[in-house]
Amino acid sequence: MSSRANVDLEAGPLPLRAGRALSPGAQRAVVGGTTVLGCLALWEVVVAAGLVAPLFVSSPSRIAAKGIELLQSGEVWNDVRVSTTEFLFGYVLAAAVGISLGLAVGCFRRVNYFVGPFIDILNAVPRVTFLPILILWFGIGIWSKLAVVFLGAVIPVTIATHSGVRTSEARFVRVAKSFGATRLKVMTSIILPGTVPFIFTGLKYGAGRALLGVVVGELYASTAGVGHMIAEAGNTFDTDTVFFGVLLFTAAGLATTVVLNSMEQYFERWRPQGQQR
């Protein structure tokens, strides 16, 4: 099907007169951007007009002012550092363990039979629900968050890597074996490269879970971190700081996605054009 036909089929409602000159991508950007700005303006106006007390909903300008103030005074940096440490260490550990475990489970049937039930049980529920136990074991400091971040991220990475190995091209493996490739060679030059897209899918899911682990862990019980800052601000009715903290988490989530996407592109550059998944 040509792209021309595609456009015709998708033209549901008649395009606006002004929008006709714009490509669909530009229309999307214009309409989306306008809506976002409109919502922010509405939020600001409603608060400025005194319809809702800023204590309850804050306002974009107050959040921005608060954010600048916190960043300049340097109060927030300690919390950011603690949260980043929890996230990075837990996540990197989860990636290392998850990828190796996924490869092991995918390559050795019996390992899969042994470990499978645990992975299935852990996958059925968000690991964040184990937080109370982890806090009992590791205290309310940084270690319980590390543990919950690790547990949250390790399962999706393991499962995705496992299914990547399972779906690797049997023909390629057979060809390599008939040319006398060793198990290690098959592993490093066929299975591993073919699994990379799956690993990145797992890593992206895992990043979300890891971030959730940081947030929930710090809200639940903590001594420092951005989540702790949010919880404390909530207790003192400091709505501006709550929103600023939430924004920090959103920014962290978006930044992780960007980093992972560019890493994926780097690892996928060997693939011929058009085969990228």
């Binding site: 976002v36 968000p126 949010i230």
Partner: protein, 296 residues
């Protein structure tokens, strides 16, 4: 060759051996799985009761005592089972907690589905609406909404309403996103055909959009259920009264470890049952799904 295969006549291997092996091979997966779980539970029981410390004491001397775990840290599986039994059937104190949490969960799910599904479908149907809402949805999806919990408490207090609200907020995002995505993937030719035969919008929604979206909606439901579990545990941190999350929190702060485990396992079992329920539903609707990314 000296180690040729045994001849049919002269072998002394009892015929039951290969049979037994074959039977084992047929059930290797469940056997090994059960074995692994049993070993794990035994190991856990042993750690909690100090079996391993006793066992290794003659060899390692006093350093084996490092294996002793104080009961406030770890309850043995048998203690947990007994405490679950007593809380369920002797004192019955688990039921009110379970009842309220289930009520919160179900009401939040009802709210999230009745608001989220129509919203997602309608937004997905109309191109400009979709353009308008997409960035907001993406931002909301990138935000861990649970971080808004202190605000919800500020708005609505710590009662049941606030908990239902935060759980519904957690659930509605995946539901809206999957409903929206579902409409975007519907074959445009079907929609055009319906319009050529002058179907009304209501008919289009009822006969094309809704049935075609069902698999996506169920996938969204599955995600929403997981989110709801988080809401139960975390949303009940604030406030007192009853609820599974409240029970866990209270048991944790008084170091009643067995009760913490009972609470967490209750949620885990509920999660297992619910995701099995969704799987059944999906099978009934005849959903073919790629299992590659079936992760929470």
């Amino acid at each position: 060759m000296t180690f040729a295969a045994p001849q049919a006549g002269g072998n002394s291997i009892p015929t039951s051996t290969p049979l037994l092996w074959e039977r084992y091979a047929a059930f290797e997966r469940p056997i090994l799985g059960a074995l692994a779980l049993t070993i794990f539970l035994l190991f856990w029981e042993g750690v909690a009761r100090g079996w391993w410390a006793d066992l290794l004491h003659p060899i390692l001397g006093s350093s084996a005592d490092a294996l002793r775990v104080r009961p406030i840290f770890l309850a043995s599986p048998s203690t947990i089972a007994m405490s679950a039994y007593s809380m369920l059937f002797e004192t019955g104190e688990l039921w009110p907690h379970l009842g309220l949490s289930a009520f919160e969960f179900v009401s939040a799910l009802a709210i999230a589905v009745t608001l989220g599904v129509p919203f997602g479908l309608i937004v997905g149907r109309y191109q400009y609406l979709s353009y308008a809402v997409e960035p907001l949805l993406a931002a909301l999806n990138a935000t861990p909404q649970i971080a808004l919990l202190p605000l919800v408490v500020l708005w609505m207090g710590t009662g049941v309403a606030a908990r239902v609200f935060i759980i519904a907020l957690l659930m509605i995002v995946p539901i809206v996103i999957s409903a929206h995505a579902a409409v975007r993937t519907i074959d445009a030719r079907l929609l055009r055909l319906a319009r050529s035969f002058s179907a009304s919008e209501a008919q289009v929604f009822k006969t094309i959009i809704l049935p075609a979206s069902l698999p996506y909606l169920l996938a969204g439901l599955r995600l929403a259920i997981g989110r709801g579990m988080i809401g139960i545990v975390v949303g009940e941190v604030y406030g007192s009264a009853v609820g599974i999350g409240v029970m866990i929190n209270r048991a944790g702060s008084t170091f009643k470890t067995d009760r913490v485990f009972v609470g967490v396992f209750t949620i885990v079992i509920a999660g297992l049952l619910l995701s099995e329920l969704v799987r059944r539903l999906e099978r009934r609707v005849g959903v073919w799904r790629e299992s590659a990314v079936d992760v929470q």
